[in-house]
């Protein structure tokens, strides 16, 4: 809207030509000038300039809708407002599931299941609407090369055995998950910019970026001067692009993040927290030095290996250096926390149980659920196993 050319804002031809001589071609340039500048540039009197401002504003101002109209539109199409996570307790708390049209973030220490969650959501998005899915394609932007197609098929086959009973169904499901491997911040941003056309042509209903933090933290070292602002700029630009895509097409966007340790004394820690639920150190947590542990880089496509990994890491951490005091929160800073609308935090509890917490949500209070990772993906404890809608046989 901002880049709308003034010609299309119904200004007269000669005025547009005169303005373009001063390098003012878009509505954005026009509205950024003060009134005196505008008088000088257009050569019009004060009253006329105000009328011109109104005209240009009308051309790029958003349309008004009342809250009632929005509610009616939602009521007409209830299934399109959320993507059910098939975790019954979580869906209930979130009023339906992962909301469409806004950004959802999954944060956790390494190895808790972020990529598993993303793979599970990819399967869910391809399901037909009668089964709680969105009947669409999925765009999966992978920056850590952690995506495993084998696991995708395994989850699909075990979670919905009655639906994916034939190879063709599995095949068509895998055809609708589009994987992009991007390894730098710049390429991620370029990919996000190109998504608009892809969403329309491939009928995409879910965008997953796994993970934002790894690529950002690789490139921007915040200890170096100037990098902090560059990093915030990149994140803010990415966030606004993704928000635009989410709202324009009414689709959910899932992003994954890592954790970081904030080492500082007492009162400042509290001020930095997004919310108490965000402070992972309030419950059992791994020392974040594990993130640099060489073993952690191994692909986690087998449950066994990740469990062993964890034990090694725990042994290594507690044996060696003493645990530093500090608080452990989601990475990427405060500005990023403002940009995401919903935040879910995964954590270890007692192996193999882990917990998933709703840390930030406009509709849900803080809540915690325990889950395990099985062959069929996430299983909430206390959930009736595989309760799916639509006449599928229950286990």
């Amino acid at each position: 809207m901002a880049a709308k050319k003034l010609r299309r804002a119904r200004l007269s031809q000669e005025l547009c030509e005169r303005l373009s001589r001063h390098q003012i071609t878009t509505c954005q340039d026009f509205l950024c000038l003060s009134l005196l500048d505008l008088m000088k540039v257009t050569g019009q009197s004060y009253g006329n300039v105000q009328k011109l401002l109104c005209k240009v504003s009308l051309a790029c101002a958003p349309k008004m809708q009342t809250a009632y109209e929005m509610k009616v539109r939602r009521a007409v199409n209830p299934s399109s407002a959320f993507l059910s996570t098939s975790l019954h307790g979580l869906d209930k708390v979130l009023h339906g599931g992962v909301p469409c049209g806004s950004l959802t973030e999954i944060t956790s220490p390494p190895g808790c299941g972020k990529t598993q969650f993303c793979i599970m959501m990819s399967v869910l998005a391809t399901l037909p609407i009668s089964m709680g899915g969105l009947n669409g394609a999925v765009i999966y932007i992978d920056t850590e090369s952690a995506f495993s197609a084998e696991r995708l098929v395994e989850i699909a086959g075990n979670r919905f055995p009655a639906y994916f009973d034939s190879d063709e169904k599995l095949f068509s499901m895998t055809c609708s998950v589009y994987l992009y491997r991007e390894l730098t911040c710049g390429s991620v941003l370029k990919r996000i910019k190109s998504l608009e056309e892809e969403i329309i042509s491939k009928k995409v209903k879910l965008i997953i970026i796994d993970s934002v933090a790894s690529v950002v933290r690789k490139e921007f070292d915040t200890k170096l001067q100037g990098n902090l602002t560059e990093r915030s700029n990149f994140l803010a630009r990415g966030a606004s692009l993704l928000k635009y895509l989410a709202e324009e097409f009414s689709i959910p966007v899932i992003l994954t993040n890592q954790i970081t340790t904030r080492l500082s004394n007492g009162p400042a820690i509290q001020a930095d927290l997004v919310s108490p639920a965000d402070d992972l150190s309030l419950s059992e947590v791994l020392d974040s030095s594990l993130q640099s542990h060489p073993l952690v880089r191994l692909p986690k496509n087998r449950l066994e290996s990740s469990r062993i990994l964890l034990e090694i890491c725990l042994a290594g951490a507690s044996g060696g250096r003493k645990r530093e005091s500090g608080c452990v929160t989601a990475a990427l800073g405060n500005t990023w926390s403002h940009s995401v609308n919903t935040r879910l935090i995964l954590q270890y509890h007692d192996l193999p149980t882990r917990q998933i917490r709703v840390a930030k949500s406009p509709v849900a209070p803080f809540s915690t659920f325990f889950y395990t990772i099985e062959k069929s993906g996430f299983v909430l404890q206390g959930d009736p196993i595989l309760k799916v809608t639509g006449g599928i046989k229950q286990k």
């Binding site: 809207m1 901002a2 509505c27 954005q28 509205l31 950024c32 003060s34 008088m39 050569g43 009197s45 004060y46 009253g47 401002l53 504003s57 009308l58 790029c60 101002a61 958003p62 349309k63 008004m64 809708q65 009342t66 809250a67 929005m70 509610k71 939602r74 806004s102 902090l228 915030s232 700029n233 803010a236 630009r237 966030a239 606004s240 928000k243 635009y244 989410a246 709202e247 500082s264 004394n265 400042a268 509290q270 001020a271 930095d272 927290l273 997004v274 919310s275 108490p276 800073g333 405060n334 500005t335 926390s337 403002h338 940009s339 609308n341 840390a359 930030k360 406009p362 509709v363 209070p365």
Partner: protein, 395 residues
């Protein structure tokens, strides 16, 4: 009449010609006889013919034979004269102190106005007390806070509360909600509005007065939602355009008493290399909002983000958008966490003391933490329905 020609709101080119012709005050422009002017021979006689015909104040009109064209068309000349005349007229009335056009009044009149003005209650009596009754009309209130602390919740609560009928202690107004972050959730507003309607119904049942029941007929969920006017601005250009168009919108919808801009920081925090442009735009916005608040007797509520300020030894959270933005708002509230409790601090106010109170976000909306001590209100006027509102709710 002594107004300098350079300050008249004419087209710059015309103004330059008049100044070059040696005119210094508006009086000179209106009074210079054609003889004197033709001797200067800088303006065509046709122009002066228009002047004198328009003014009708000269009997003798001598058209000079020397006729030097400077290219002002007759329409332009007439327009210029109309502008000059209007400016002089309004200047004259202002100095004469005519009622209605002057902007001065005594402090007593202001006091009476302020006392007669209502407040927008927040349903959290502690916060209302700290603010001196609630969110004030004709003032800009800014709410800063970390992500997830409840700023948007309070905005949605206020958008509902402004519509409470007068017999229940509200303002019976409408609300404009300008959203830049996409955090407005209709479902949540439905919950808040339903709780508010239920609350009023309880009061009406308890008191059984005529006007209460009549007001309840029009105060329903549907009417509340229809009177929240929602605009979604995707970037700062759309925000600027919308604020330019807001006065016209408010003149059409004269019952609007609240303008909420949720997320004034978000569009200005990324992609802005030119910080001085940002400061200028923000100052312009602040001025326009103050004018809107005063002219239309509306309350303006803005939400701001927090940013990390890196100090020598530790970093602190401060409101975003810089120091100069801090002057824009009249009242500033900062929301923050203390362990598991949400707190609101009144940080800047012209009339109230700085204090901190706890608050809660319940499924019904923004509320107190515990029932306020009913006995501690000696000046609670017995017939004030607003006080009754709070007491009822804690039952």
């Amino acid at each position: 009449m002594q107004r300098d020609v350079g300050s008249l709101p004419l087209a710059p080119a015309l103004r330059a010609r008049l100044v070059a012709a040696g005119f210094q005050t508006a009086q000179e422009v209106l009074e210079t006889g054609p003889c004197g002017l033709s001797k200067d021979s800088l303006l065509s006689p046709e122009f002066w013919l228009q002047c004198t015909t328009a003014l009708g104040s000269f009997e003798n009109l001598i058209v000079s034979s020397r006729n030097i064209e400077i290219g002002i068309s007759k329409e332009e000349a007439l327009e210029a004269l109309q502008v000059v005349r209007q400016e002089c007229h309004s200047d004259a009335t202002r100095t004469a102190g005519a009622p209605g056009t002057s902007r001065k009044c005594t402090a007593l009149e202001l006091l009476e106005q302020e006392q007669a003005q209502g407040f927008i209650i927040t349903f959290c009596s502690a916060l209302d007390n700290v603010l001196g009754g609630g969110v004030q009309l004709t003032k800009i209130t800014e709410i800063c806070g970390a992500p997830g602390v409840g700023k948007t919740q309070l905005c949605m609560q206020l958008a509902v509360d402004v519509q409470i009928p007068e017999c229940f202690g509200g303002l019976a107004g409408e609300a404009v909600f300008i959203d830049t972050e996409g955090s407005f959730m209709v479902d949540r507003v439905v919950d808040i509005a339903a709780a508010c309607v239920q609350h009023c119904q309880l009061i009406a049942e308890a008191h059984q007065e005529e006007d209460h029941l009549k007001a309840l007929e029009t105060f329903s969920l549907e009417s509340i939602l229809s009177h929240i006017y929602y605009f979604r601005c995707r970037d700062y250009t759309e925000l600027l355009a919308e604020v330019y168009l807001l006065p016209d919108f408010l003149s059409e919808h004269s019952k609007v008493r609240l303008v909420v801009i949720d997320g004034i920081a978000f569009p200005f925090r990324h992609d802005f290399e030119d910080l001085s442009l940002r400061t200028r735009l923000l100052n312009g916005l602040a001025q326009q909002l103050i004018i809107i608040a005063n002219d239309h007797k509306a309350a303006v509520v803005l939400t701001n983000q927090m940013t990390t300020r890196i100090g020598q030894s530790q970093s602190t959270l401060v409101p975003a958008l810089g120091e100069s933005w801090g002057h824009a708002a009249t009242v500033r509230l900062i929301f923050h966490w203390d362990n598991n409790q949400r707190l609101a601090t009144l940080y800047k106010s012209p009339s109230q003391k700085e204090s901190t109170i706890p608050y809660h976000i319940t499924p019904h909306g923004f509320r107190d933490v515990q029932p306020p001590a009913v006995t501690q209100n000696p000046e609670g006027t017995e017939m004030n329905p607003r006080k009754r509102l709070r007491r009822e709710e804690e039952k």
